[in-house]
Symmetry: D3
Subunit: 178 residues, 6 copies
Amino acid sequence: MNDKNLKEKSGILIGRMQPLHNGHIQVIKNTFKEVDELIIGIGSAQISHTVENPFTAGERTLMIKKALIEEGVEGDKYYIIPITDIMNNSTWVSHVEMLAPHFNKVFSGNPLVQQLFTEAGYELSKHVLFDRKLLSGTKIRDLMINDGKWEDLVPKSTATIIKKINGVKRLKHIVLKM
Amino acid sequence: MNDKNLKEKSGILIGRMQPLHNGHIQVIKNTFKEVDELIIGIGSAQISHTVENPFTAGERTLMIKKALIEEGVEGDKYYIIPITDIMNNSTWVSHVEMLAPHFNKVFSGNPLVQQLFTEAGYELSKHVLFDRKLLSGTKIRDLMINDGKWEDLVPKSTATIIKKINGVKRLKHIVLKM
Amino acid sequence: MNDKNLKEKSGILIGRMQPLHNGHIQVIKNTFKEVDELIIGIGSAQISHTVENPFTAGERTLMIKKALIEEGVEGDKYYIIPITDIMNNSTWVSHVEMLAPHFNKVFSGNPLVQQLFTEAGYELSKHVLFDRKLLSGTKIRDLMINDGKWEDLVPKSTATIIKKINGVKRLKHIVLKM
Amino acid sequence: MNDKNLKEKSGILIGRMQPLHNGHIQVIKNTFKEVDELIIGIGSAQISHTVENPFTAGERTLMIKKALIEEGVEGDKYYIIPITDIMNNSTWVSHVEMLAPHFNKVFSGNPLVQQLFTEAGYELSKHVLFDRKLLSGTKIRDLMINDGKWEDLVPKSTATIIKKINGVKRLKHIVLKM
Amino acid sequence: MNDKNLKEKSGILIGRMQPLHNGHIQVIKNTFKEVDELIIGIGSAQISHTVENPFTAGERTLMIKKALIEEGVEGDKYYIIPITDIMNNSTWVSHVEMLAPHFNKVFSGNPLVQQLFTEAGYELSKHVLFDRKLLSGTKIRDLMINDGKWEDLVPKSTATIIKKINGVKRLKHIVLKM
Amino acid sequence: MNDKNLKEKSGILIGRMQPLHNGHIQVIKNTFKEVDELIIGIGSAQISHTVENPFTAGERTLMIKKALIEEGVEGDKYYIIPITDIMNNSTWVSHVEMLAPHFNKVFSGNPLVQQLFTEAGYELSKHVLFDRKLLSGTKIRDLMINDGKWEDLVPKSTATIIKKINGVKRLKHIVLKM
């Protein structure tokens, strides 16, 4: 959208959320200190059933919604938008602008995402992200594969959803070598 | 998602919403008589700036969200998901299942959508849709092009959004012949 | 394939086969007067569930196989290959060459297909095709929609397949106006 | 490119050039009254061998180059860039920006192109285009199909190229009905 | 296809066959103990001319057909279908269903393929596959590159085809470093 | 283009030019000993903003044009054509033929490119390329990232362009780990 004044303070945060974990929730809640409205973009939306990306966009959408209800974040304040990958980095910001309502602040810890939005003239939040060494999707997926305790690192509803869809079994099967 | 029991009563309604109008709002509100949760799919999400499809997926997402807030529909009860077209009808239901959280009832007045979901084993709602002869995107776009009174046919917030983004001017320019 | 001498006399015939009908069968049988081996390409393989293209590539593959068994055409003498459309006419012959075993003669009544293969240096058969005014996919689909007698215009096994998959019902539903 | 000051006066003109004709040449020459450098974008670059778009991007590139040499336009002053179509109007300007060197003025008589570049903040030239009723690709293709005199409507080198590649024969064959 | 009863016992086996080898032939022949009809899907059909995937779909189709004729497997009992990769695992089964005639049993040693078909409700065969440590495409390609004896590991007709198309020379050239 | 006699001696050279460097310029100038006209294809045109491919096709087009002006290579003698990647090696030559004017000689040090053009019947130049151990895009990008002296390895105008677009800063940011 072109009208930069439609909403004074609106932000976007994009992540793969494979799976959604407590770090994401903490960051999402913190963004509301800076913006009135948040677009939560689900990155690599078309990818699923891989070791790095076990869950579908729909499953990840459900995880986010249920966790934010659990946390008491009001449903009117955010959007959950699947963002499929495209082959061209230089048109990617334009692709996001097409899919998402207007925003003027970007929350990201990803250097490429930062670079692309900066070149397109967007303001990056200085907002501190969670410590990826302590908590990351990679770490959680490793725990799932190796029968570790992953359940406390994700929202309660996310753990429930993963169990209902047999997510750990899926991941353990995919990781097998042929 | 495969677990058919995750949510007892969840539905999907897919439309292009070019633009969102009062008929859509009435149908969306009626679906909640049959389901607890509704996925609102924005069809042909990648198309914009054409006479048939003037608005982007992001703009249409904004229209829906603001109108449902206006109507007092609780934000926790629905999802707004852009659905890009794919070339293959026979894989389209699978494409929707990838992008959307689990659903078990389909609301659609479109014969092709009905056929595809029926072949995939979904239940169609008998829910009566709005009368497309009285109210349709086509009719509203014609009024916009010909300086007619379209504002009362759409939610108040939708009219505001279309004005802020100069939507009528966009449509009138695109419709010009080269 | 590059080795032009691998098989002395091999041909290709491409059609949408929506559905397979007696004209196709007659042409296929006639090609064996000119070639030892025939590649039957199913055109627009990715399209289905439209009024012009009601059947999937898989359904059309089944129709062809069962009809040729019925006709006593030996299974070792032909290939059935789905050919998806690509956006570029000028790379289309190369796309077909990638998907199909080597061939050196082209059977086609389609002017575009003739032009593309001719520019690529292939020999076109002078082989007379069936009379499209008497027998065509369009005519058969019209009969299906209007409760006409279409069954005698297609191979017996094709009629059986169409009935088993509720093909006429599918076509009649898709043709409905929203 | 982001540096808006790299070249003070650089323009872009996009057309399908099916085929290149004297109107295009006149417009191209006129643009140099406003800009130092011109990017000539070949639209719908991936399409060829259709009645509306008979020639490939490579053939059209050759037509433009040879005609501009003929006209004495210096080769250092322009770029010829094939622009493939993408499905999304709202990311199309970004797609052009990826493929073309920096530009700051847009020459176009196409309302959609004008709208998209305007929304992206570009300046449109007021430059008067040729009269499309007198001279157009459509008119020239019709003359080719109907054995009319088209040769004088295109640059001499373009006529030579079309003859060498048997372009009229191609067009006449493609236009045949199956 | 939706009619699950069209053919009582039909199976699908998908492999890249780069190249076809004796292990594939052994497995294909064994499947007929469980099914009446077999669909042989050529995976990654669009890939060729890489070190991992030297042969085109057409070349692989030819290898399979000629080897099965050699082995006396009746041509009416199987289909050879190229399956192009798509980006989305979660719609891949639907993509295969579009391209292939109806099937109800899946033969695969690939964990991802097993997982995807299982989630879609298909029955996997317990059928023992060949020992991939003794015989694999990787091993054969390594032998080709290093002038080893690969000919006895593939069907006789496959060796002939590879020689006719200069397949080993192709592979040796592609593997060179720039 | 099909007419092989349109231009007696025309060549193509394809490279990613990430960035353009003195080795490319030396090779380009040498090709004119063998051909009258050169097509300079920019490979992987759609990729940018990666560590291996930092610059857009448009930026690379500008680098080439300005460097050849600097070197006094006449603008009428060459074409600069962005070549986007396609998924299929076996249709890639056809894709290049679509985008480029007619050529009959290929300049390439890339084994895959050599193989594909050779299988399509093109003549490869024996022309000696620059020594990739002394001078390569990889080496230059490493120098940029590590504050080395890269400026003397590229044309003067290329260094200027990279500075104006903050290319080194872009590369240093992208290379950061998340």
